[in-house]
């Protein structure tokens, strides 16, 4: 019969794993490189997507006018970071309108920073938040205008 390895050898083999799991759990929040890897740790009945429209109501694709760092996924990250950083509640389409407007303002400023306005072929940048939710086994959504910014070309 094979002899089991001594407990201290097993501990040594798993020491870094135990350290990482325990330290990240004790820290209890995101503190790079300690993380609880919270991606999709719950499935709430809402999901948000931010998007742009011009003054005519046409979709403005992020990829057409902005670099990769300002695509829809990244913009959504900034949206959530705004609420997390300020400790404001976020979700289920129930944000405080003042917070929502301020988040929209910061995101729009981030989008337009370092961009040459002459490349835009629209006069107004409207930032919308789409709120998806499930009701009676059907997917529904609601679009809310959260910020409007005129473009000076």
């Amino acid at each position: 019969m094979r002899k089991a390895p001594p407990p201290n050898r097993i501990m040594r083999k798993y020491l870094l794993l135990i350290f990482y799991v325990v330290a990240s759990t004790l820290i209890g929040k995101e503190f790079h490189p300690f993380s609880q890897f919270p991606m999709y740790n719950s499935f709430p009945n809402y999901s948000y997507v931010l998007f742009l429209k011009n003054e005519k109501g046409d979709i403005i694709p992020f990829g057409k006018y902005f670099p990769r760092q300002k695509y829809a996924g990244q913009v959504a990250h900034v949206f959530y970071s705004y609420f997390t950083y300020h400790g404001y509640s976020c979700g289920y389409g129930k944000e405080d309108p003042v917070h929502l407007h301020q988040a929209g303002k910061e995101i729009t400023e981030m989008l337009l920073k370092d961009e040459d306005p002459r490349k835009f072929d629209f006069d107004t940048l409207n930032l919308y938040r789409r709120f998806y939710y499930l009701a009676d086994d059907r997917i529904n959504y609601r679009d809310d205008l959260i910020y409007e910014q005129g473009i000076k070309r």
């Binding site: 083999k13 870094l16 794993l17 790079h32 490189p33 890897f37 809402y46 900034v78 959530y80 998806y132």
Partner: protein, 294 residues
């Protein structure tokens, strides 16, 4: 390929294997650093070390060129196996600063494992023990497995076992992923594909619940991968299947978690090298092979 199937392959790590891991790791590290530290001329949401230390001086137009040049130099030293204890520690520090800078800009790409991999290698090289060849790969695997376990624990902590039964709600998360593509490209097909995929989830709840249950199980038992090279490989294959499933169903691939796992547990670059060597040997004329043998 016979080498892979023989028992000997699973007992130790060879130099070509280590080289393949280093090349994969360094190239991917440079790629994610390059994409993370562009447009970082401000720190609007300080987090991590920047919530403790004021690092506003880092938010400048010089951060990108200086850090890119430094990262390139470190990657070359890393692949060339030069002063590894210092090189890997500096790679850890650079990752720590730049990824924290990225997160402090509100972009959460979950690059923690990459930072920890270099710390693990720095520890292995600092120890410089008789089992260095194994520890420089096994130590990072410990952090990678730890990451998966943390992800599983986080699900249990926040949602409990209800995480599995709530799985049909993933349909609106799936739609979100496709919507990101639609609003980025303007391609309506992305939205249609998302609606179709979300509809599939709602119509096949049991399949999705089984997939989520399987994923949670794999995450919580990721410590098995640490045991030895064989368990790391087998577990790596299972985790790869999980990531492919998630990518297929939800259109999401968290590269900063998936790729380190792939490089250290499966090492595809080395498998390709083995395959090509085998192919090359079989294509060579017998006389050349005989000469070599002689």
């Amino acid at each position: 390929m016979n080498k892979v199937l023989s028992g000997k392959y699973w007992t130790s790590y060879t130099s070509p294997e280590w080289m393949a891991i280093k090349i994969s790791t360094a190239v991917f590290w440079l790629m994610i650093l390059h994409s993370s530290n562009i447009n970082m001329e401000a720190i609007p949401y300080p987090c991590g070390i920047f919530s403790v230390v004021n690092a506003s001086f880092l938010a400048s137009k010089y951060t990108l060129p200086v850090s890119s040049a430094f990262a390139l130099l470190l990657a070359v030293l890393y692949i060339a196996e030069k002063r590894m204890a210092i090189t890997t520690f500096l790679m850890f520090l650079l990752s720590l600063v730049l990824f924290t800078l990225e997160e402090s800009n509100g972009i959460l790409n979950r690059n923690s494992l990459y930072t920890m991999i270099f710390l693990a290698q720095a520890i292995a090289y600092y120890r410089n023990g008789t089992r260095l060849n194994e520890e420089r790969i096994q130590f990072p695997i410990q952090f990678i497995a730890g990451g998966y376990i943390l992800a599983g624990l986080s699900k249990l902590k926040v949602s409990g076992l209800g995480w599995v039964s709530d799985a049909p709600l993933v349909s609106i998360q799936i739609l979100k992923g496709y919507c990101y593509n639609y609003f980025t490209t303007g391609d309506i097909k992305q939205l249609q594909r998302g609606m179709m995929q979300a509809g599939f989830v709602l119509n096949h709840k049991l399949i999705i619940e089984c997939m989520c249950g399987g994923s949670l199980f794999l995450e919580l038992f990721a410590w098995i991968a640490v045991k030895n090279k064989l368990t790391a490989f087998v577990y790596g294959v299972l985790l790869t299947c999980m990531h492919i499933g998630i990518n297929f169903a939800m259109n999401i691939l968290i590269g900063a978690v998936f790729f380190p796992m792939l490089f250290f547990m499966i090492n595809p670059l080395y498998l390709i090298y083995l395959l090509l060597s085998r192919l090359y040997a079989s294509l060579r004329p017998p006389s050349a092979a005989n000469t070599d043998t002689a």
